[in-house]
């Protein structure tokens, strides 16, 4: 699978309270959540984001609460992948579990800038910054996580095989 989009860049420690403020957690509707995505950090996000765009951020992306509403809001905004130096652990597992593609790549996270056009080939494990002519290889996730990703999410793995994974 390949995705292609413009970079929307953020810094370190982007927490779930800015990804989706708790005042909107009285809804589980992903469209409604997407309307408020990143609102307290970047009020332009919802008007700028286009389907396929890629969030690039620093360390500890998604720290804070366990709210799955955060990766849901990002996914429903049309974001095709989040690239970060690393992710807070609950956000990491939530993204995998709901099928929001994420990649850990410190050099891509450092060198990609706002507005750059980036292409990601998930099968080959490569990130290409078309604007800058740079390319990076990423480490593949362990087989276990790839099985969840290929199935389209954690619950689908259980649906496919009642013995689970």
């Amino acid at each position: 699978m390949k995705v292609h989009g413009k970079v929307i860049k953020y810094g370190d420690n982007i927490d779930t309270d800015v990804i989706i403020p708790a005042r909107y957690l009285n809804s589980t509707d992903e469209r409604e959540l997407a309307e408020h995505c990143m609102e307290d950090l970047d009020s332009s996000f919802t008007s700028v984001v286009r389907p396929g765009d890629i969030i690039v951020a620093g360390e500890n992306f998604g720290c804070g609460s366990s709210r799955e509403h955060a990766p849901m809001a990002i996914k429903a905004s049309g974001i095709s992948c989040v690239i970060a130096v690393d992710f807070a652990r609950i956000f990491f597992r939530n993204a995998i579990n709901i099928g929001l593609p994420i990649l850990e790549c410190a050099s891509a996270a450092r060198d990609c800038e706002n507005g750059d056009t980036v292409e990601i080939d998930f099968d080959a494990g490569t990130i290409t910054n078309i604007t800058k002519g740079l390319s990076w290889n990423t480490f593949p996730f362990p087989d276990f996580l790839q099985k969840i990703i290929r199935s389209g999410g954690l619950l689908q793995t259980l649906k496919n095989d009642s013995a689970g994974i």
Binding site: L25, D86, K159
Partner: protein, 421 residues
């Protein structure tokens, strides 16, 4: 292979003699937790994928604590959805208004979690039960749905950082000051993906409420879990609440990525300044910080000893008229105990509002939301941008004693500063 305490609990819950860091395992859970924000999403996923039974109706806890008593129509609809699910699947541990307390104070109090357990919860502060010597960790709603159906969770076995606690805490210094100091020391991702394991002779001076507070905020350092070695205090706490507890101890030759020695006698009343729990400073070095609102409560600091500390400071004093002060006992039992001990009278006589248990203001839900430009001093756990209200409001995190002193001064202060000895 030598294992940490966390690794031993995980190994025991996946039928293995040993596990090593980095391995991904499927583990059995002793309890699966969700609340009025995360459970509706889990229930929806559970139903969408056509599951029609839960793995064990006695091992699921549904706690309606975040936006309750319901703050608006949408919040009421979410509770209603969970209530219907709890009824349909005859969930034994469903807690609603009147019985409910803040989940991470309520479950230990009811004896639903204990040493040796493996607990997951769709709430990041599920790590609180590590105070009892359990492995407990926060997950998402999809994990919760999966665990409600199967009783299992996927886990990457964590490596660990060891904290050896030494000596005793000084007056007006509590578990909150210790954990804020540690987060300041290692940073908000300092323990990312790892366990924080607490041991050492300093444990003997930490009450269970101190330990709950410390384990609770392990997530604020990015940790998967925080866990305390089990001692006489743990056993005493659990004796009346649980039929059976299993004690795991770390192997003497277990490997730790790092070891920190923390001298408790050097800990000082500490604050985390906006907008990060890692942005810490001794309260005495913070300067003049006028405050609009004080919150005393939450899963971090809404327990009886927390209220006792606040009451000791507030007894016979009045809160500053420019500083709205809200006290929230974490459970009904704590509320009742505080009432019997006279703390509630002290709070009301001092000019505080006292609320029924709720997470409410901690996440800017209700019961004390901040306006643009307002500043709160709070005993809660997060001070991110917009956490308690307007994105241009501010939150300082402190202990209950410091919060109470601040309420009296109308500005950030220690009990000593307002003349409490």
């Amino acid at each position: 292979m030598a294992m940490t305490m966390t690794q031993k609990i995980i190994a025991a819950h996946c039928g293995r003699d040993s596990v090593g860091p980095g391995e991904i395992v499927m583990a059995k859970t002793d309890l699966v937790l969700g609340n009025d924000i995360t459970a509706p999403l889990a229930i929806r996923e559970f139903e969408k994928y056509g599951f029609d039974k839960v793995f064990d109706r006695d091992k699921i806890a549904l706690v309606m604590d975040h936006f309750t008593p319901c703050k608006d129509i949408k919040a009421a609809a979410q509770c209603s959805e969970v209530r219907a699910f709890a009824g349909a699947y005859r969930i034994s541990n469903y807690f609603d208004v009147g019985e409910v307390g803040i989940e991470h104070a309520l479950l230990p109090e009811k004896g639903l979690v204990g040493s040796g357990d493996l607990v997951i919860g769709a709430d990041s502060h599920t790590c609180t039960y590590g105070a009892l010597g359990a492995f407990s960790t926060g997950v998402g709603s999809t994990d919760m749905a999966y665990a409600m159906a199967t009783g299992k969770v996927w886990l990457k076995v964590p490596s660990a950082i060891r904290f050896i606690l030494k000596n005793k805490l000084g007056k007006w210094v509590s578990g909150k000051d210790v954990i804020l100091h540690i987060i300041g020391l290692i940073g908000v991702s300092g323990a990312q993906y790892k366990s924080m394991e607490f041991s050492g002779d300093g444990l003997s001076c930490l009450s269970m409420d101190d330990r709950f507070c410390i384990a609770n905020m392990a997530i604020e350092a990015g940790a998967k879990n925080g866990v305390f070695a089990v001692d006489d205090k743990t056993t005493e706490y659990e004796k009346l609440k649980r039929k059976r507890s299993v004690i795991y101890t770390a192997d003497p030759d277990a490997e730790y990525e790092r070891t920190f020695e923390i001298d408790l006698s050097l800990a000082r009343p500490t604050a985390a300044l906006p907008h990060s729990p890692g942005n810490t400073k001794p309260v005495d070095d913070c300067g003049d910080i006028p405050v609009d609102q004080v919150i005393i409560g939450s899963c971090t600091n809404g327990r009886l000893e927390d209220l006792a500390n606040a009451a000791m400071v507030l007894h016979g004093r009045r809160v500053n008229r420019n500083c709205r002060t809200i006290v929230i006992p974490a459970t009904q039992q704590i509320y009742l105990d505080a009432l019997k001990m006279g703390f509630i009278s002290t709070f009301i006589e001092a000019g505080c509002a006292v609320s029924t248990p709720t997470c409410g203001p901690c996440l800017g839900g209700h019961m004390g939301v901040l306006a643009r430009g307002e500043r709160a001093v709070s005993t809660t756990n997060r001070n991110f941008v917009g956490r308690m209200g307007h994105p241009e409001s501010e939150v300082y995190l402190v202990s209950p004693a410091v919060a109470a002193a601040t309420a009296v001064a109308g500005a950030l202060a220690t009990p000593e500063k307002i003349g409490v000895v």
